[in-house]
């Protein structure tokens, strides 16, 4: 079977199945079974089907592009790429293009250079992403079917107090929940399969609106609706930057497709349009990053203009001269800024989506939604979208952009980790941990660890969804989010405790060094290793490695603080611990499945197959080598990733990671299990820092002061102007108009109407008089005619003096 035709088919179907279920539930949801119970089945079936299709696609892919073991030797790796590449460009031996298929299903609009189309760009990353997303989504669907059973009957929201003091009471929204869930999956898969930036943007926004639906699922709660709006608006801020980036790309290059696409040019001839990747990293330069001609000309617009002016008569001369000059201009650095802006712009979008500093504030609030939603948002769909886009867009990013990304990631991970230390809400802890893990991924991408970052994305997806689902089952058991009321739950809910322990170990990257470990062990180690090698080649930026290591320590601490406070020790609240109970099987089964995967996701099978290896296969062309460049922030070296696999660096990183993680776990144990250190005492000692962290670094207040208050002030000012001035003016105008109209009406009634009536009555009376002439007798008319004729004749003859008698 031909993968070029099979893969789009399979993945396209996998992409559209959730849409089908969305539509079905949208129209028939409430009628599906009692209170729409079956809608869960529909949605779940849909997502499971698309999971199956994705697996089939994965099988197809592997059958066509078998994966070699991850080699530490660039040449071997490159060979494997070259061999496994279906239609490989033999000329570039060490810089082979990754195997990828692209095409368009449907062209929305095609005019001039712009071509908006619904298309696909499928490589190993896409396939993997499909599998992971659909798998996790399936688990979450199954889980949610149990978790949301409150919505099956009329639901009384105890957190909403109506004016009469009673609680808010409403019918259940079971089907609606799953409908949004299906739409969410559909949008996410759309982003993953998208073949061009425009399509990505469309589904990007769809994801945003879905998150809005789901976070604001309990929209009667003020907090929930606020959180939904917050998430939406903050994301818009990022998307604004993304739009700028897209405009920069399109305006200068005239295409938004990743891969080369065949389309009709303005003359209507079928031509091959170079995609972004081949523009930025053309074969000519052996896929080394270089500013595309379009951007160069765009930046050197004035030069181009004058040349064109000189050759106003012979335009083809001008064109040729411009073509000849482009390389000089590129050497002179034209267009670098443009490329930088493009990269930063797209990154802004990702900052918003995957909650990077400074736009991370929405994510902690997003837990207002039902827990399965949080799991989905935090693990596989929304925040993953940002990182995925960065990975997809990676080849276009200049080292400068990468540096910005790296620093953003570092800041984010440290910030979020510190906040997570003091949070007491179980889901909030997880939320901040998500942010900091995302920071890790960004950091990895920024320091050149393409595989490392995306690898962490996948592993994190597994264990973070696991953790959220576990917390969900805890909340389900205790009906509270506050960890200070929990404790000692391990006895009542062993499954949850066990699986959650697995999750914690995975996230801190626990494992026997150099032997084996949980999934997090591999991904986090590679990130640290890459950071280390980066800071070695660029000593000035070694802070990145420090931040990453410190982040690892903090991660270990707060994760185990969470686990200990929840499951270990004695119950703090008898009432809660009495009513606590293990979750139903429908909720436990996904936990187990996810736990297994959280363990094994990082492993690479004997055949050499593993997520990392497969990602290695999808690595964009030209990113495998060390690059030394940098225009804006001085010279910068992005080390090749395989260099971080060499012994020294790798071992150092592993040991560091292990040490920090162990230290964190020990500290947590001392404080919360053995009671050697009292948390309260610590908090008292570091009171200012504690409050500072407790207040989340005052970010919300900061934003409130910087953005919200000014806006509100301006708004109130505008409204006062509106009420005080504009309304007054309008009222005055209206009043004047009324007066004038009154006068006009008087004139109309007296003069005009009088005139008209007078005319009418005059006509009437005249008609009454003339009526008498109308005898209605035919014969008299004939006589009149004859008499008239004769009279006319006589008259005419007399006037003309023609003698009749003659």
């Amino acid at each position: 079977m031909d993968p070029a035709s099979t893969l789009p088919l399979l993945l396209g179907l996998a992409w559209l199945t959730p849409l089908v279920s969305f539509v079905a539930i949208l129209f028939f949801g409430p009628r599906m079974g009692p209170h729409g119970k079956s809608s869960a089945a529909v949605a779940t079936a849909a997502i499971v089907v698309s999971l199956a299709l994705s697996l089939a696609a994965l099988g197809t892919w592997l059958s066509v592009h078998p994966v070699q073991a991850v080699s530490h030797d660039s040449h071997a790796a490159a060979d494997s790429h070259a061999d496994s590449h279906a239609d490989s460009h033999a000329d570039s031996h060490d810089q082979a293009l990754p195997p990828a298929y692209s095409g368009d299903w449907y062209t929305l609009y095609e005019g001039g250079a712009l071509k908006l189309s619904i298309g696909w760009y499928i490589d190993a990353l896409t396939v993997l992403m499909f599998v992971v997303v659909t798998f996790i989504a399936s688990c979450i669907h199954i889980y949610a079917a149990g978790y949301m059973h409150d919505e099956l009957h009329d639901f009384t929201d105890h957190t909403v107090h109506l004016s009469d003091g009673s609680h808010f009471h409403r019918p259940g929204r079971f089907s609606r929940f799953f409908q949004s869930l299906s739409l969410f999956c559909f949008s996410m898969l759309g982003i993953v399969i998208a073949g061009n930036l425009a399509m990505i943007f469309i589904f990007w926004e769809l994801v945003g609106i879905c998150s809005w639906f789901l976070i604001g699922f309990y929209y009667e709660r003020q907090s929930a609706s606020n959180a939904a709006n917050k998430a939406f608006i903050v994301n818009r801020v990022g998307d604004f930057g993304m739009i700028i980036g897209m405009m920069a790309l399109w305006g200068a290059l005239g295409t938004l497709h990743f891969a080369d696409s065949s389309g009709q040019n303005s003359a209507g001839i079928e031509t091959l349009r170079p995609g972004l990747l081949s523009l930025v990293r053309p074969e000519a330069t052996h896929h080394a990053l270089h500013v595309p001609d379009g951007m160069v000309k765009f930046a050197a617009a004035d030069r181009v203009a004058e040349i064109t002016l000189d050759h106003a008569t012979r335009t083809e001369d001008g064109a040729s001269e411009i073509a000849s000059r482009v390389d000089d201009w590129r050497a002179m650095g034209y267009g670098r800024w443009l490329l930088f802006v493009a990269g930063i712009g797209i990154f802004c979008g990702c900052v918003g989506k995957s909650a990077q500093f400074p736009l991370f504030v929405w994510l902690p609030d997003a837990m207002e939604g039902p827990t399965p939603v949080s799991a989905l948002v935090h693990s596989a769909t929304m925040v993953a979208a940002g990182v995925f886009l960065m990975g997809r867009f990676y080849p276009v990013l200049t080292p400068d952009v990468l540096l910005v990304i790296a620093y953003t990631g570092a800041i984010t991970l440290f910030l979020a980790a510190t906040i997570a230390l003091v949070a007491t809400d179980i889901k909030q802890v997880l939320a901040y941990s998500t942010i900091s893990q995302l920071g890790y991924m960004m950091l990895a991408l920024g320091v050149g660890g393409w595989v490392a970052g995306l690898f962490h994305l996948f592993t994190h997806a597994f264990f973070k969804s696991l953790l959220f689902l576990c917390s969900g089952s805890v909340i389900h058991a205790c009906h509270t989010n506050d960890m200070r009321k929990m404790g000692g739950l391990a006895k009542v809910m062993p499954w949850t405790a066990g699986t959650m322990l697995v999750g914690c170990l995975a996230i801190i990257g626990a494992g026997v060094p150099f032997v084996i470990g949980l999934s997090g062990y591999y991904s986090k180690d590679s990130i640290l290793a890459q950071a280390l090698s980066f800071s070695q080649v660029n000593p000035s930026h070694s802070i990145l490695f420090v931040a990453a290591t410190g982040g690892a320590f903090l991660t270990a601490f707060y994760m185990f603080r969470l686990w200990f406070m929840t499951f270990a020790g004695q119950p703090r609240d008898a009432h809660i611990s009495e009513h606590a109970h293990e979750s139903p099987r429908v909720m436990v089964a996904p936990l187990v499945a996810l736990a297994i995967l959280a363990i094994v996701a990082g492993w690479s099978l004997p055949g050499g197959f593993g997520i990392a290896a497969m990602l290695e296969q999808a690595r964009p062309a030209g990113t495998a080598a060390t690059v030394t460049s940098g225009y804006l922030f001085g010279s910068l070296t992005i080390p090749a990733e395989h260099e971080s696999h060499v012994g020294a660096i790798h071992e150092t990183a592993t040991l560091a990671a292990f040490a920090t993680a162990a230290a964190g776990v020990l500290l947590a144990a001392m404080m919360y299990v053995w009671r050697i250190l009292s948390p309260l005492a610590v908090a008292w000692v570091f009171r200012p820092i504690y409050t500072f962290l407790k207040q989340r670094w005052y970010f919300d207040e900061l934003y409130g002061a910087i953005f919200v208050q000014p806006v509100l002030g301006i708004a109130s000012l505008a409204s006062s102007i509106d009420l005080g001035v504009i309304d007054k003016i309008i009222d005055g105008v209206a009043w004047t108009a009324r007066q004038l109209a009154g006068i006009d009406a008087w004139i109309d009634r007296t003069l005009v109407d009088g005139l008209v009536n007078a005319t009418a009555s005059a006509t009437w009376s005249a008609g009454i008089e003339l009526k008498k002439l109308q005898t209605g007798h035919l014969r008299q008319y004939v006589m009149f005619i004859v008499i008239g004729t004769v009279a006319m004749f006589v008259l005419a003859s007399l006037l003309l003096r023609s003698s009749l008698a003659a």
Partner: protein, 128 residues
Amino acid sequence: MNLIAPLCAAGFFASGVLSDPVSVTHYLVVGAILFTSGVVCMAVKRNALGILMGIELVLNGANVNFIAFGSPYLRGEGSASIGLDGEAIALFVILLAAAEAAVALAITLNFYNNHSTVDIDEADDLQG
């Protein structure tokens, strides 16, 4: 003798009138008489059919004039003639007269259906 005189008188009169060929004027006079009697017929008859006959007479009188002016036989030397056009127009008049007769009869029939009479003095519904 007393027998011959009137004969001679008659003979001379007859020869005087009958011996020279007719001219256009003769035809015109005939047409005028037909036309006038048609008009009078229209003006006098109270019977709708009578009025239709009057119309036919009028058209016929007009036709006589056309034929007279168009007839090459009556074309005196120097006096212009409309040649074929006369006959052509006369033919058109005849055709349209037939059409008119059909419609007029239909109208008369309707009138009879509504008023149960053909006396057009009763047809004064439009009287002011």
